[in-house]
């Protein structure tokens, strides 16, 4: 299998889906002539033309609103938000429209649309451009929230998102575009809402996704040298949330650490921990631990920023604390 980057995987998924289905089109800021601010749609404009690769004004409500309207007419828009931090300008349309219309109008409106958004910290962009607010969006029934941690998952899940008749928020991590991994050739789809064991182990269950997977895998390497075998479950979708592999793993290890890049309070870890206690209380052998971002707006200074973000060492320490 070829080893390609996350960026290539996402780009391939988009390209292949646009080739496959003429209803699919892209809209967003700088997706066309510029080629995407993260170069994901480089070459698309020239190949697919202005009609299918639409540069928009800097107007997030209009981008998401127009995507919703077009989706209601049967198109399959993929709207790109330059960063997820700009999603707040379109919050109304994501939360009050995209997540509600199908339900509120008793199924009459179908919204086969994808919102691609780049999130995450670690690039010294300061507090407003570095957030990982994934849990915020995962709060709303009606929206699907997907965030891959490997190139293979990125490609398969994005294809599934584009083919889904429900609105999907697809969150990519800005520091992971260069991550390489094996991706099968050709067309394949990974169903949304399925967690996956990314590394088997027996001692502690690590539940994570996206950037958390990257640091958890590295922590696992270190721990393995000390004879501690962690099992890593990658959520991949935050909503719907598939707890089955998590619970299965937890029943084996009786210990869990949840790793996420977002803030700890009211976060993904809080949700997963609560569900572990609800669904596997009699298997708990140690308090479930959460590794997450410090409760501060992310600072610009590199040292401070890294202090705030969860690190490999934090994961290692948390694992040892539950052992």
């Amino acid at each position: 299998m070829p080893r390609i980057t996350m960026r290539e995987a996402i780009s391939q998924a988009l390209w292949e889906e646009m080739e496959r289905d003429p209803k699919v089109f892209i809209l967003g800021e700088e997706v066309g002539v510029w080629g995407g601010t993260y170069a994901v749609t480089k070459g698309f404009y020239d190949h697919f033309g202005e009609k299918r690769v639409k540069d928009t004004p800097i107007a997030e409500a209009a981008i998401i609103g127009a995507a919703i309207g077009a989706a209601m007419t049967g198109q399959r828009p993929v709207a790109e938000l330059m960063t997820i931090n700009f999603a707040f300008s379109a919050m109304d349309h994501i939360v009050n429209e995209a997540a509600k219309l199908h339900y509120m109008f008793a199924g009459q409106f179908v919204l086969p649309m994808v919102i691609r958004a780049v999130g995450g910290g670690g690039r010294q962009l300061g507090a407003t451009h570095s957030q990982t607010p994934d849990a915020v969006f995962a709060h709303f029934p009606g929206l699907k929230v997907v965030s891959p941690g490997t190139p293979e998952d990125a490609k398969g899940l994005l294809k599934a998102a584009i083919r889904s008749d429900d609105p999907v928020l697809f969150i990519e991590h800005a520091t992971m575009y260069q991550v390489r991994g094996e991706v099968p050739d050709g067309d394949f789809v990974i169903p949304i809402g399925k967690s996956k064991v990314q590394r088997p182990g027996k001692d502690v269950t690590i539940v994570t996704y996206s950037k958390g997977l990257e640091i958890s895998l590295k922590a696992a390497e270190v721990l393995a040298k000390e004879g501690i075998e962690v099992e890593i479950v990658d959520l991949r979708s935050l909503r719907p949330l598939d707890m089955e592999p998590v619970i299965e793993s937890f029943k084996k290890t009786n210990r869990a650490v949840i790793v996420e890049e977002g803030w700890k309070s009211y976060g993904v870890g809080s949700e997963v921990a609560a569900r572990i206690y609800e669904q596997a209380f009699d298997y708990v052998d140690a308090p479930v631990k959460r590794v997450a971002q410090k409760e501060v707006p992310l600072p610009y200074n590199r040292t401070l920023e890294q202090l705030a973000l969860p690190q490999i060492a934090d994961v290692i320490q948390a694992v040892k604390e539950v052992l």
Binding site: N254, F281, D282, Y283, V284, D285, A286, E321
Partner: protein
Amino acid sequence: MAETVIMPKLGFDMAEGTLVRWVIGEGQPVAKGAVLAEIETDKATVEVESNFAGIVAKHLVAEKDVVPVNTPIAIITQPGEALVKTPLEDAGGGGGKPEASHKEQGSRAVQTEAAQKQEISSQAAAPVKAGGPVKASPIARRLASEKGIDLSAINGSGPGGRVVRRDVESYQPPQAAPAAAPASTLAVTPPRAEPGLAPATAAQPGVERPLSKLRNAIARRMVEAKQQTPHFYITRDYDMAALMALRKQLNGLLPENEKISVNDFIVKAVAMTLKQFPNLNASFAGSQILQHAHINIGVAVAVENGLLTVVCRDADQQGLRQIAVEVKNMAGKAREGKVRPEDIEGSTFSISNLGMYEVEQFAAIINPPEAAILAVGAVQEVPVVRKASGESPAQLVIGTRMKATISVDHRVSDGAEAAQFLQALAGWLENPLKLVL
């Protein structure tokens, strides 16, 4: 038609009540106005009268249950009428008395804990953890219970000594031999307690007495009063000779149940004085001082496990005899736990009298939201210096004296005013005929 009796609201601030006793049992007939049950509120035990005639078909709450106001407590049906299930009952599992089940759980929990403590203290041979229940993870608990292992017998290796899964799995039960030990080690100090540090209660546990409603209410109100009201205190001495003489005279004319106590005089005198000092017949109300239109004197009455303040309404307008009879009646009922809410609510100034215990003087805590309280000591014969007047020099004589201490809310009034009040009070107490007129 079946009628539902609810936990009545017996006062503006009553939120819940304890059903102390069912007076009329299930299946028994009840007349309208008959006493159906006794209820204990924050302040008193009150009889609940039935608003309906019929048959008490069902008690919806048990004795000792605490239930919120408006909760159905009984159903009264007409003779021959079938009892229809109430929606509350349909809600299942004790839906009709949510508070009750809480309380049951609570007391059960207390019992269990107590039983556990007992168990622990009676098997001192086992490696007892220092205090509290055994710390164990949920899976350790489950495995231990499946294997029939006593968790307290296992030394936990988890953080803080928590018994975790591996401890249960690797646990080897001890051999039979040490089993004989317990009786002989009963008196031994628990192993982890450090010598000299063990509190006396560990060897000889004290008695835990749950707070009664009344005790609870007193505790709450007194903390509130003492913490939130800035008190100041002023004491003054009164010449009671004339009053004692007058009292003796009057009581000679009155039947036993109408005899006037010293305190009744004080009630009347205080009421008359308050007419001159409306600022002390008042309440501090945040941005303003509320001067009350009526002068209602509260008289503190000692009852079992606490104290109640019965209220003598419009005492300034009542005669001494009326005051005497009314206070006596209410105090009697209070001691029996049978006062009505109106007997104990609405006082605007209180008097606490410990004279009967030969207390010389004391200071009382204000009964909120009142602005002041008068603490009265015993009337005693004491040496008094009679001032020189005219030809006669100063002289040491036997005086009949009483000390009274006023506690005042400093937000409402100041020392000078309170002192003037005590002085004006002397004008009444030392000229008691004015009180009879």
